[in-house]
C-alpha cells in the first residue's frame, strides 16, 4: 500500500463522507489558486497542513513532508525557472520575475497542501464510489483504479526488490548498482504482470469486480457539509485579509 493510501485508510477521517472532505479540500484548492498571491496560498497551506497534522488524521509532520516533497521539489524548480531570465545574456533575476516566482510558489504550495489533504483523507475506494456518484463514466473510473493498482503493486515490488538487493550488497559500487538497477527494472514488468494475473484470479475466485472495498458510511451530513463550506469561507477570509 502506498503511504498516502495507508494514511487515508487508517486516519480518523474515515468516518466522514467523501463529499464532505472533497468539498473542503477542493474549496480550499480554489482559494489557494484565486486568493491574492503569494500570501493567500501560504495561508491556505498553513491552515490545511495544520488540519491534517492536528485534525482527526494526525498525520506525522515528517511523513507529510515526505509525501509532499516530490511536489514541492517541482514547485521549487518551476519557481527557479520563472525567477531567472534565461535570455541571451547571462542568467539574471529581474524585479518583476521575483514577484511572479513568489506568486507561483505561494499558489502552488497552497495547492499541494490541498492535494495532500485530499490524498491523506480520502481512501481510493471512496474516490471511486464518489466519482461514480457524481456521474463520471465507469470506464474512466475503472482505468483510474487499474492505474492506481498498478502503481501500488509496482511501488511495493520496487520497494521489496530494492530491499532484497540492499540485503545482498546490490549497491556496493557503481557497477553493482547498475546491474541491480537492471535486474530490478527488468524483473518489475514481468512480476507486475504475474501479480496482476494472480490478483485477477483471486478476485474472480471471490466473485469480486476488482473494485477496492469502500467502508460503508451514510449519506453526507448536511451539518458537516455546511461545516466544510464554512471552513472554506474562513480560510478564504483569512487568505484575503492577510494579504492586505
Amino acid at each position: 500500500m502506498l503511504d498516502v493510501d495507508s494514511v487515508a485508510h487508517s486516519g480518523g477521517w474515515q468516518r466522514f463522507h467523501a463529499a464532505e472532505k472533497a468539498c473542503f479540500g477542493l474549496g480550499c484548492l480554489g482559494v489557494a489558486l484565486l486568493a491574492p498571491a503569494p500570501g493567500g496560498g501560504l495561508v491556505v497551506a498553513v491552515a490545511v497542513l495544520l488540519l491534517i497534522t492536528i485534525g482527526p488524521a494526525r498525520v506525522a509532520p515528517r511523513l507529510l513532508l515526505r509525501l509532499g516533497l516530490p511536489a514541492l521539489g517541482s514547485v521549487a524548480v518551476s519557481a527557479i525557472v520563472v525567477l531567472v531570465d534565461w535570455g541571451a545574456g547571462p542568467p539574471s533575476a529581474a524585479g518583476s520575475r521575483v514577484e511572479a516566482a513568489a506568486a507561483l510558489t505561494g499558489r502552488s504550495t497552497g495547492a499541494v497542501a490541498c492535494l495532500l489533504f485530499l490524498g491523506t483523507t480520502i481512501p481510493i475506494g471512496q474516490w471511486a464510489a464518489g466519482s461514480r456518484a457524481v456521474g463520471i463514466p465507469d470506464p474512466i473510473v475503472e482505468v483510474g483504479l487499474a492505474i492506481h493498482r498498478t502503481i501500488v503493486v509496482g511501488a511495493g515490488l520496487v520497494g521489496s526488490l530494492d530491499r532484497a538487493a540492499r540485503a545482498r550488497l546490490g549497491y556496493r559500487d557503481a557497477r553493482t548498482a547498475l546491474r541491480t538497477a537492471g535486474l530490478v527494472g527488468g524483473g518489475l514488468l514481468g512480476r507486475l504482470y504475474d501479480r496482476d494475473v494472480r490478483h485477477d484470479r483471486a478476485v474472480a475466485a471471490r466473485r469480486g469486480t476488482g473494485e477496492p472495498p469502500v467502508a460503508r458510511i451514510g449519506p453526507p451530513s448536511p451539518v458537516r457539509l455546511s461545516a466544510a463550506v464554512m471552513g472554506v469561507l474562513v480560510v478564504a477570509l483569512a487568505s484575503w485579509t492577510v494579504v492586505r
Binding site: 521489496s160 540485503a167 546490490g170 535486474l183
Partner: protein, 286 residues
C-alpha cells in the same frame, strides 16, 4: 563485546504502529536463537532491523563492537556479515535464473569468478537444488523458491544468519536438510537467529528461545523452560507434545529430576521404558 548486540531497538511503521518495542538482544558467536510469537508480534520487523535494512526509531546495534555506519550500513559491510532470508521468497529473489540469483550476493562482494562459482555450486548442493541451477525462478514451486532464497544468502557466508520462517513450505526432508545445514554452520561458528511458528522446531533446534508479543520480548530462556511457561501457553497454545510427555515422565519418576526435559523424539524415546516383549504395557499419560 563480540557478536551482534541490540539495545533498546524500536521501530514504528509509517502509519504509527509500533512493531518493535524496546528490544534488547545478544547474539554471540555460534548462538542458536529461536524467535517466536503470534502473527504480527514483530518477528519479521525485528529481523529487518537486525539485518540493517530498516532504520530503528531508537536503540543501537553493533557487531563485534562496531555499529552500522550512519547513513550507510552497506559501506560498513554490515550487510555482508549479517544475512537475512526473507519470510517471502518472492520478495528476495531478483535474478532471472536460479544460478544468477545465488551468484548475485557473492558477486556483489567482489569475489573472483572462480570463488563465486565454487560457492554457488557448494550451496546448491547443500540445499539439494543443483539440478535447478539453470531454471527460471518464476517457474519454481514455493518450496523450491524457498531453497533458492536460502542458498542466495548462504552463498554470502555471513557471520550472523537471520532466517524468517525458513521451513515454511519445505517438505519434511527439505526441513531436515536445512537443519543439518544450519548445524554445520553452527559448528563453524556462525550465529543463527531463526524465526518460526513451529514450536517443535524451536524446542529441538534453539539453545535460547525468545517470545515476542506486540513488539516486546515477553519470554526468553532455554526453549523447554520458555515453552513450559504459562505466559507462552497463553500466547502460543499448549506447545510441543514431547514436552508434555517429558513432564509426565518426570512426574512418574522415570526421568530423573536433574535431567533436562527431552527436546526431540530421539531423546524422548531414550527415556521411554522398553516395552516388555510379550504383554505390551500401556504407559498411561494423564
Amino acid at each position: 563485546m563480540t557478536g551482534l548486540v541490540a539495545t533498546g531497538l524500536e521501530y514504528r511503521y509509517p502509519d504509527g504502529r509500533v512493531a518493535v518495542d524496546r528490544v534488547d538482544l545478544e547474539v554471540g558467536p555460534g548462538a542458536r536463537i529461536g524467535l517466536t510469537g503470534r502473527n504480527g508480534s514483530g518477528k519479521s520487523t525485528l529481523l529487518l532491523l537486525l539485518a540493517g535494512l530498516v532504520r530503528p526509531a531508537a536503540g543501537t546495534l553493533s557487531l563485534d563492537g562496531a555499529g552500522p555506519a550512519v547513513g550507510g550500513a552497506e559501506r560498513s559491510g554490515w550487510r555482508g556479515r549479517v544475512g537475512l532470508v526473507f519470510q517471502d521468497s518472492d520478495d528476495q529473489l531478483l535474478a532471472p535464473t536460479v544460478r544468477d540469483d545465488v551468484e548475485y550476493g557473492p558477486r556483489n562482494l567482489g569475489l573472483p569468478a572462480d570463488v563465486v562459482a565454487e560457492r554457488v555450486d557448494r550451496v546448491l548442493a547443500l540445499l539439494e537444488i543443483a539440478d535447478l541451477a539453470p531454471r527460471p525462478i518464476h517457474a519454481l514451486s514455493l518450496g523450491q523458491r524457498r531453497r533458492v532464497a536460502i542458498a542466495g544468502v548462504l552463498a554470502m557466508e555471513p557471520k550472523v544468519l537471520l532466517l524468517d520462517e525458513p521451513t515454511a513450505g519445505l517438505d519434511p526432508l527439505g526441513t531436515a536438510a536445512l537443519l543439518e545445514c544450519l548445524d554445520r554452520l553452527h559448528r563453524a561458528g556462525t550465529a543463527i537467529v531463526l524465526a518460526t511458528l513451529d514450536l517443535e522446531l524451536a524446542l529441538r533446534w534453539s539453545d535460547r528461545l525468545i517470545v515476542l508479543d506486540e513488539g516486546r520480548v515477553v519470554e526468553a530462556g532455554p526453549p523447554d523452560v520458555v515453552l513450559s511457561s504459562a505466559h507462552c501457553a497463553r500466547l502460543m497454545g499448549r506447545g510441543p507434545a514431547i514436552l508434555a510427555v517429558g513432564r509426565q515422565l518426570r512426574a512418574a519418576g522415570v526421568l530423573p529430576s536433574g535431567e533436562n526435559l527431552p527436546r526431540d523424539l530421539d531423546q524422548l524415546l531414550f527415556w521411554l521404558p522398553e516395552p516388555p516383549k510379550r504383554e505390551p504395557r500401556v504407559l498411561t499419560l494423564r
